[in-house]
Subunit: 345 residues, 2 copies
Amino acid sequence: MEAKRTDVNSLGEFGLIDHLTKTFKSTQKSTKKGVGDDAAVMEFGNLQTVISTDMLVEGIHFDLAYTPLKHLGYKSIMVNLSDIYAMNAIPSQITVSIAISNRFSVEAMEELYAGIHKACELYDVDLVGGDMTSSPTGLVISITAIGSAQADKIVYRSGAKKGDILCVTGDLGSAYLGLQILEREKQIYQESPEVQPDLEEQPYLIERQLKPEARKDVIDYMAKNNLIPTAMIDVSDGLASEVFHLCKESGLGAFIEESKVPLHPSTEEMAIKFNMDPITCALSGGEDYELLFTISEEDLEKVRYMPDVFIIGEMAAKKDGITLHSSGGNIHPLKAQGWKHFGNE
Amino acid sequence: MEAKRTDVNSLGEFGLIDHLTKTFKSTQKSTKKGVGDDAAVMEFGNLQTVISTDMLVEGIHFDLAYTPLKHLGYKSIMVNLSDIYAMNAIPSQITVSIAISNRFSVEAMEELYAGIHKACELYDVDLVGGDMTSSPTGLVISITAIGSAQADKIVYRSGAKKGDILCVTGDLGSAYLGLQILEREKQIYQESPEVQPDLEEQPYLIERQLKPEARKDVIDYMAKNNLIPTAMIDVSDGLASEVFHLCKESGLGAFIEESKVPLHPSTEEMAIKFNMDPITCALSGGEDYELLFTISEEDLEKVRYMPDVFIIGEMAAKKDGITLHSSGGNIHPLKAQGWKHFGNE
């Protein structure tokens, strides 16, 4: 059975926006006006407003050969919510702007918006606006997330102090390895379409790549337990790059204990199959969307009982640099690789 | 002399963002944290927050063959500020996300940001965040503008009442004709590069296309004179399309007096040279970034003395439809053409 294909041009811009957003209902008290005027209107009382924006480009950030559009929609929201949580704020609204070429059908856009809708529901954010336009070639998604928090609860990258304890949530490097599996299978498929894809029975790694979750649970837990990190950032470009950001903004150095960096067993297994060092996947892999944060020593007990959080190092004086203490007892200067969507790809 | 060309890859994403945004200073009291963390932080006290976003795609919204990058940067901000003003709100922050292929140099991006910077200065808005990524092909610019106003000052599309007077600022159709001149010259250049471009000595039309201004002056004037429109929208897709939006959202009809629609003499002159009806350019042309608004009859005197504002018609009952009263005394149903960036271009 052939899937239905409606040309996006048949609906027109406003028709398509109406069509795709009609199932979204605003539930946030702060949303005064959502889609349908020149701008959305929000009211936050005495809270501070936090805003973050990210752009995802076909061929750079995602490959539709192995990325289901529904997952892509979901992930594009996660990427942005993750930034709001990294401020210790609660996201409440998003805007979604999309450029599409006419090789995409209305049904394809519905899939994308189904993923966006799911994310909005699960994370309790309202879609309040956006733009939709044509593109000469690929798909571009630009999302802005808006959130809020009390001024004294907002956590910056710059607040870490020497001696603060460095913590990270979840596990690192798995999304990167999921991407390696998908890329390998795509290449094999292109060379020999008759070969069945071999996803290595690694649903965890694949899911970490295709359907990451922002750490709302961590922020909620911190709020309940009166834990306010001294500094925080989300891990989107690999642990090393994020540690560099925290150190730069806080004017400090840091050390990381290699053996404490959380790795999933699947990550270790697949890294070795790919002839990679698992720690390198964690340090430079990216797309984990975990939270890296520092706490003052007096909050140590609060973190010890926190689920899915790992103490991986400590903030040091700037002059001591940023170092990795290896399991073998060696100390290496940490290198920030990164710019992964801006290099010689 | 050959212009300097620095590959964008030589700076890396964060290096390029730092490089391009370091001359931007936040001046808004409401800006608590600008570029450099996971999200910007703003605080608006008891005001309502208004947000608007637009995406501009190379080959769809602009053609770099005749659009200087500095003008493009400036215009991309105007497009967004215009939406905030159309809510009767004051813009205070913007985020700028950009996807660029490596055919663009750092110098080219500097030109783009010079235009953005100029717009931020002149309109008193802070650049507080954004994203920068590579693109496989063209340039994509996605901008989100944030503003605020007291709740009882915000003007929606839906507030018009039957009998309200329909007004428009500036003049219409000129940006569209500017585009026609530029497109014609591009085609001639492609066919015969030796022919000198003939811009018809029409700097006004060209400027309206390449360097439009958002109507901050109109909103400021209204505030000073205690004039709050009953409904408002910015004219980005042509007058007809915007009248349809106002009527749809307000549940009304409307009539427009053809002879009252403001046209610049250059618009009339060039429309005739292009074998077009000038009123059609105003109704369907787009990119004017003027304000279309309705006022209750009791505010008529306030509008009579307002500079650069024209009364063009009246809101009617829904059953009377949306009509154009022609100079010859005929009444035509108005047609909304539009979707200009989403059709069969």
